[in-house]
Symmetry: C2
Subunit: 317 residues, 2 copies
């Protein structure tokens, strides 16, 4: 049974209820779908921004400054931060410590960090589900902050209406970003720490790479915005560029077709998860275990046994 | 139709055929299972070593030195290297450039690098499939080299008979490794670059963490081996520790039960992949597309539509 009080309290922006709902969503049990189906009618009003890029580019700082910018306009901001590299980049997990003293006490801001460790996949599903909770709770903007080093992080970034790729003027960073698939997903770039030496060369290199990409006069050309986020410089330019992209998307139904595409990707992921749950339910697991006796004997390929399990599954459902 | 010449040539250790077979396996088309079922009877003789750890710990260097060590014993070595962070650690992709000039020309060594970018998941499946090809081709040792920052990299490391976690004496590195789940998978640790300052403290810290872990007198206690791989120091200690772990595993049937467990994990992954392929086959994709019209209308939750697609799928199979 879903708790209708919890849902009512989400709509009332009760922080503890929002936190609990996101935890339910993360657990991904049988209630998850019920809650998300229930709140769906309130979902769709928040504008979703994806911020990604390599470790150390300053994504957390930009997220914080951008949040403060929007708070001055009295907009409510939800932040979903995912960083799979944090154990080894040694930094504050998702910049949380900085964040907490900075914007964490503001009741118009809700921050959720997601660990990838120990998660049995489905990270982008969880992040998007959590965004739906914040959306239903009436947050005006939702920022997904991810480190662009894994497929699921790219998936999350692409679940946004506007995706920002943050780079720093390190030598070759733009070339690395291209290799990492970040060029394809950027609606615009932020060249952060642009007071560093080599900034102008990095800008030119990035511009050159962008010019090589195929485009026609009707297509959106990603801009490059310079910033020094730690000094709050360039944040209004970033906000303006988000607005410009938003206006562009609103023309010619682009916004709707992007959201339709995202819905399609998301439904696929939900279907796969649900089917996996059914597959390894008690009966499925038992059939697997009994098939495994054959592997112990060593005469059968795992591929052969997999085929047998699929046949069993098909007969069962 | 599978190419029986190709299979014969794999058994004859023809390098081009091995490379082609691994490419087929990576493509993951309908032939993949057929080839892997066919070669299965020749699989199971290679000893599999997993080497993982944070970026910059020296995994490639250790892999290279260990390979040279085994080559002196006339053992053939296959290397499967996976590095999802490489675009942003700026290094040689999987240490390939170093490797190529060092061991790459040796006909008793086969190196395969796997990109994670653009890969639609299933990385650990591909890596293990590729290891089967090398195993069938008669390689005595297979080394999986992965960066320990993602779930699939941990999965690969765990597909080995002996898993080595490489750390460096940076402050707090062992604590980070614990957070990252590396403590659970290590059969032993290598403290590389142990000529650096702070090495003894790092050793003690790691030892302390290991002592906290639950263990009884019968359980395997992970050792810590010091090395300076770039100077070829400690490599024989690493090889000895691999032998010691191998002997331990061979006692009391532990080796077989570990391989059984790995087979189970692998079969699960194969089943999920095959089912996903069927799910999104032409008919499945069409049913998805028609369901999507409802999303465009905005009245239905993605979770509701997902349930409908699953029903359709069940009726179809």
């Amino acid at each position: 049974m879903i708790d209708s009080n919890l849902i009512e309290n989400i709509y009332k922006e009760d922080r503890r209820s929002i936190a609990r709902a996101i935890s339910i969503v993360e657990t991904n049990n049988s209630f998850t779908s019920e809650y998300l189906k229930e709140i769906h009618k309130k979902v769709g009003n928040a504008y979703r921004i994806g911020i990604t890029g390599p470790p150390g580019a300053g994504k957390s700082t930009i997220t914080n400054q951008l949040t403060k910018f929007y708070r001055k306009q009295n907009k409510k901001v939800g932040i979903i931060a995912v960083d799979p590299t944090s154990p080894f980049t040694g930094g504050a997990l998702l910049g949380d410590r900085v964040r907490m003293t900075d914007i964490g006490m503001d009741s118009g801001v809700f921050i959720r960090s997601m660990a990838t460790r120990g998660s049995l996949g489905g990270l982008s599903k969880k992040a998007i589900d959590a965004a739906d909770v914040l959306d239903a709770a009436g947050f005006d903007l939702i920022i997904f902050e991810t480190v662009g080093v894994g497929q699921s992080e790219l998936d999350i970034a692409q679940a946004a209406d506007t995706t920002i790729v943050v780079l720093v003027p390190e030598s070759g960073d733009s070339v690395q970003a291209m290799k990492a698939g970040l060029m394809e997903i950027a609606d615009f770039f932020v060249l952060n720490k642009s007071d560093r030496p080599g900034s102008q060369q990095a800008y030119t290199a990035l511009q050159t790479i962008l010019m090589i990409k195929d485009h026609d006069e009707n297509s959106w050309l990603p801009n490059i915005i310079k910033s020094v986020a730690s000094e709050n410089s360039g944040i209004d330019d970033i906000a303006n560029e988000i607005e410009r992209h938003k206006s562009y998307m609103r023309e010619k139904n682009r916004f709707q077709s992007k959201r339709d595409h995202q819905a399609k990707v998301r439904i696929k992921e939900i279907v796969e998860h649900k089917l996996k749950d059914e597959l390894w339910s008690e009966t499925g697991e038992n059939s697997l275990i009994s098939s495994l006796e054959k592997v112990v004997l060593g005469n059968f390929s795992p591929y052969l046994i997999a085929e047998e399990i699929i046949e069993n599954f098909k007969n069962r459902i």
